[in-house]
C-alpha cells in the first residue's frame, strides 16, 4: 500500500505513540481510554446476542479486549499507512477483540456437535413440485459431496458454520486455531463442494 499524507489528528496520534518517554505514555493512555470506550460501546450494541447468564462478566471482557487491542495496535503501528483515519484503523482492532470474545462468551456453555442428519432438516423454501424435485436432487448431490469429498475437519467446520450457525471465532477457540485459518478451511471445503456439484452437472444452478 502506498503511504498517503495523514490528516492532522492521525499524524498527532502517530507522533505521540512513536515518541519516547512521557509523550508516548500519555498517548498510550489516551488510546487505551478511547479503545475501552469502543469495546464497551460494542458490547452494548451486541448485548441482545448474549444469553442472560453471560451478561455479568461483560465489563471484564471489555477491559481485556481494550488491552489486547492496544497491544495489537502498538505491535502493528509501523503497518499503518493512512488509508483511513488513525482512529478508524485503531477501532477495528478493538471491535475484533470485543466481537470475537463476545461470540465465544455467548457459546461458552454450548457444545459444538456433529449431526449428519442436519442436511435433511435445513429449512426449505416453498417451491413448485418440479423445482422442488430438482432442488432435492441437488441437495442430495451436495450431501454426497460433503461425505465423499471433504476431510473430517473440513466436514466439521463446514457443517458447524453453515448449518449450525456456530460462530467462526468459537470454532477457532475450540480447535486452538485462528479466525483466518478456520475460514480458510471453510473456503477450501466450499470450493471442493462447488467443484463436485459442477462435475455432477449442477454448474448452472451455481451460477444462476
Amino acid at each position: 500500500m502506498t503511504a498517503v499524507a495523514l490528516d492532522r489528528e492521525s499524524a498527532e496520534w502517530l507522533r505521540g505513540l512513536q515518541a519516547d518517554g512521557p509523550e508516548r505514555e500519555q498517548a498510550t493512555e489516551r488510546l487505551h481510554a478511547l479503545l475501552l470506550r469502543v469495546t464497551r460501546g460494542e458490547a452494548a450494541r451486541r448485548r441482545s446476542t448474549l444469553p442472560g447468564r453471560a451478561l455479568d462478566d461483560v465489563d471484564d471482557l471489555c477491559v481485556q479486549a481494550a488491552s489486547d487491542a492496544l497491544m495489537a495496535i502498538l505491535d502493528k503501528l509501523n503497518t499503518y499507512r493512512g488509508a483511513a483515519r488513525f482512529t478508524t484503523w485503531a477501532y477495528k482492532f478493538a471491535i475484533y477483540e470485543t466481537s470475537s470474545r463476545l461470540r465465544r462468551h455467548a457459546w461458552r456453555q454450548q457444545k459444538v456437535e456433529m449431526d449428519d442428519t442436519i442436511w435433511d432438516r435445513l429449512p426449505d423454501t416453498a417451491l413448485p413440485p418440479l423445482q422442488r424435485l430438482e432442488r432435492d436432487q441437488l441437495m442430495a448431490a451436495l450431501e454426497r459431496a460433503i461425505r465423499e469429498r471433504l476431510t473430517e475437519r473440513q466436514r466439521m467446520i463446514f457443517q458447524s458454520v453453515t448449518a449450525n450457525d456456530v460462530p467462526i471465532d468459537v470454532l477457532a477457540e475450540r480447535l486452538a486455531s485462528t479466525r483466518g485459518a478456520i475460514y480458510k478451511t471453510l473456503h477450501d471445503a466450499r470450493r471442493k463442494l462447488r467443484q463436485a456439484l459442477i462435475e455432477a452437472g449442477y454448474g448452472e444452478e451455481l451460477t444462476v
Binding site: 469502543v38 460501546g41 460494542e42 450494541r45 488509508a83 483511513a84 483515519r85 482512529t87 478508524t88 484503523w89 477501532y91 477495528k92 471491535i95 475484533y96 466481537s99 470475537s100 461470540r103 435445513l122 429449512p123 426449505d124 423454501t125 432442488r135 441437488l138 451436495l142 458454520v161 453453515t162 448449518a163 460462530p167 467462526i168 471465532d169 479466525r179 483466518g180 475460514y183 480458510k184 471453510l186 473456503h187 466450499r190 470450493r191 463442494l193 462447488r194 456439484l197 444452478e205 451455481l206 451460477t207 444462476v208
Partner: protein, 76 residues
C-alpha cells in the same frame, strides 16, 4: 446463485482474500462507504469476503456504525 440456502452453504465463487487480508482493508472500506464514495475495484475481494464470512461482515457493520455515530456527534 439465487437460492439463498445454497448461497449460505457454498458462498460466492469469486476471489476471496480471507479474514486476515480483509481485516487490513476494513477501515478503508468503511470510510469510503461513510463518505458515500463508490467502492473501487481493488476492494471487490473485500466485498466478496464480507458476503462470505459472517464474523468479518458483523465486524465491518460494527466499525461502520461506530464511525457513523462519531460523525454525528462531531456534527452536533
Amino acid at each position: 446463485m439465487n437460492d439463498p440456502r445454497l448461497a449460505k452453504l457454498l458462498g460466492s465463487a469469486d476471489t476471496d482474500p480471507g479474514c486476515d487480508h480483509a481485516g487490513e482493508l476494513m477501515d478503508e472500506y468503511c470510510e469510503l462507504v461513510l463518505r458515500g464514495e463508490p467502492v473501487p475495484e481493488r476492494l471487490a475481494e473485500f466485498v466478496t469476503h464480507i458476503a462470505n464470512c459472517t464474523a468479518c461482515r458483523e465486524d465491518t457493520e460494527s466499525l461502520l456504525a461506530l464511525i457513523r455515530d462519531e460523525e454525528k456527534t462531531d456534527e452536533r
